[in-house]
Point group: C2
Chain length 345, copies 2
Amino acid sequence: MNRNRKLSELSELYRESVLIELREIISESPEHLRGVLLYHMGWQNEKGAPSREKTGKFLRSSLCLLSCRAVGGDPTRILPAAATLELIHNFSLIHDDIQDASPERHGRPTVWKIWGQSQAINAGDVMFALAILSSLRLRENGISDEAVLYSFRLLSETCLELCEGQFLDIEYENKMGASIDNYLEMIRKKTAALIAASVSLGAYLGGGDGAKVVHLAQFGEKLGMAYQIHDDILGIWGSQEEMGKSARGDIQQRKKTLPVLYGLENSKGGDRLKLESLYSQGNIDAGDVLTVMNILADAGAKDYAHNLAGEYYEQALQHLYASEIDDESLVSLKEIVCFLMDRNY
Amino acid sequence: MNRNRKLSELSELYRESVLIELREIISESPEHLRGVLLYHMGWQNEKGAPSREKTGKFLRSSLCLLSCRAVGGDPTRILPAAATLELIHNFSLIHDDIQDASPERHGRPTVWKIWGQSQAINAGDVMFALAILSSLRLRENGISDEAVLYSFRLLSETCLELCEGQFLDIEYENKMGASIDNYLEMIRKKTAALIAASVSLGAYLGGGDGAKVVHLAQFGEKLGMAYQIHDDILGIWGSQEEMGKSARGDIQQRKKTLPVLYGLENSKGGDRLKLESLYSQGNIDAGDVLTVMNILADAGAKDYAHNLAGEYYEQALQHLYASEIDDESLVSLKEIVCFLMDRNY
C-alpha cells in the first residue's frame, strides 16, 4: 500500500465534483497567472498543454464533504466550501515550497522552480484570493449569509494558525533547542488545524448539532496530528514512491521532525554528540544520512514516533465514534483514516 | 511640499480612528508573528520596543471614510472596512518588498531584510488573513450581512487585480518590449484598482446610490493612475526626502516605469541604443544613472509623464464633480488629491 492507493469510492465520487468546482473558480483567476495555477494543480504542463498529473489527494475536501453527509447534510450544496479548503491548502503549499526551497512536489518541479520566487509568491496570493471568491459561491447554493460569514471566520482564523505553524517550523529549522512539545504545537497549527477545520466546516454547513460538530472537529485535529507524524516517519524511512520526492530528503534538509527531536533528546554519548553536530552544521551529505538513520533507530526514535501516531489515531477514532454519525458515514470516514495511516514504514 | 506634509484635518482625525481599529485587529494575530507586523506598521522597533515611526499615509482608509461621509454615511461604522484596506495594502507591500528585493521602506529596513524572505512571506499572508477578520467586524457595527459579503467580493476581486498587476510588473522588469499601453494596464491593476475599491467601498457601505458609487469609483481609479505616474516621476527625479528611500533607485533597479518606456520609444540614434543597452544589462551603476536621466530628459520623457499624470488628475476631478457630493466632502477629497499631486519634481 502506498500514497497512490485510491481513497474510498465515495471520496472518489466527491473528488470529481470538487475538481469541476475548482476548475470553475480557477477559470476566474487573472489570465496571466492562470497557467501557473493550472500547472500547480497538475492540469497543465509548464508550457500550457493539458495534462492530468497525479497531484493532491483532495483529503481536505473529501473530509469536508463526508462530514457534511455524516450529519445529514447535502454535500453537493457545499462544494464551494470544499473547493475553498483545497485552495487554501494549495496557497500554503506554493508558499511552503518557496520557504523550504523544495525543488519538487509530486515528482514535478515546484512553481518557484519554474517561474521564480516572486511569481510563486503571486500565485499563492491569487489562490488565497480565489478561496474567498469560492466561499462566496455557497450563496448560489442556498447556504445562508450567516453560514457563509461563519465559514469566513473559521477559515481566516485557521489561516492565522497555519501561518503561525509555518513561522514556528522555519524558526525551529534555524536553531537548536526546540522540544517535542514545541514540535507538537507547531504541527497542530501547521497541519492539524486545517484538517480539523475541513471536518468541522462540513459538519457545520451540513447542519450538524453542536456536540457532533465538536467531536468531528476533534476527530479532524487528532487525525491531522497522526497524519503529520506519519509523514515525518516517511520523510526519513519512506520509499521514494511513497513520498513523490527524494526519500530521506528530510534528513538532508536537516528538518527537525519528531524522530529527530526524539533522537536528540534520547540518544546517548557519542551518538548524541554526532547527531547534534550534524544538525548544527550547514549540510548533511549522503554518507551522513545513513549515520543519522542508524542513530535514530538505535535511540528508538522510529518506534516512539510510530506509537505516538498510533495514540493520535486512536483518539481520532474515539471522537469519530462519539460523534454518533450513521454507520455508512462512519465507514467512509474510517476508510480515509485507514488510507492515510495504513502505509508501510 | 513633500510626502510628509499632512493630509487634511479631517483625514488626520480619521487616521487616529483607523489606527485604533488596526491595533485591535493586529492584536488578534498569532503571538509569534505579531512583532513582525507591529514593526512593519512602524509601531515597534525590531526588538519589540514601542516606537512611532512615520510610515504609511493611510491614503486608502482616508479615501474610504471620506467617500462614506460624502454619500451621507457614518464613517465610524465602517472603520473595519477602512482597516481592511490598509491590511490588504500592507500585505501587498510586504510581499512586494521581497519581490523587488527592496532593502528599505520609509527609511527603515524592510521585513524580509530583518526576518528573512520566508518569514516575510508568512507575515504578508497573516496580514491577508487579518483583512478578512477585520471585515467581519463590520457586522458588530450594524452593517448588514449582505453588505459585508459584497465587500468580500469587491476586495477579493481587487486582490486578483493587484496580484495580476504585480505579476505583469515583474514580467516587464525581466524582459524588453513592454509598451506604454502595457504599462498603463499594469499600474491600473497594481495601484489604481485598490484605490478605486477604497473609494467605492466607502460609498457603497455609506449607502450611496448607484450613480454616485460609479463616479466615485472612477474618481478613485483615475486618481490612482495619476498617483502612480507621479510616483514614477519621483522615482527618477525626486529627492531622497520625498521618496523615503534612495533617490533614483528606480533607475538603478532598471525599473521600466513610464518615463523609461517613453524614452525607449522616443529617444533617437545613439541615445536610444545606449538606453536599450543599459536596460538590457545586469546593472546600472551611478555614472550610468546620470546618463539615463539626461537621455530621458532630452527625449521629453519627464514632460510626457507629467502631462499624462495631469490628464488623469483632470479626469479624476471631473468624476468627483459628477458624483454631486456635498461641498464639504468635495473639499476634503480634493485636499487629498492635492496632497498626492502637489509635489515638487
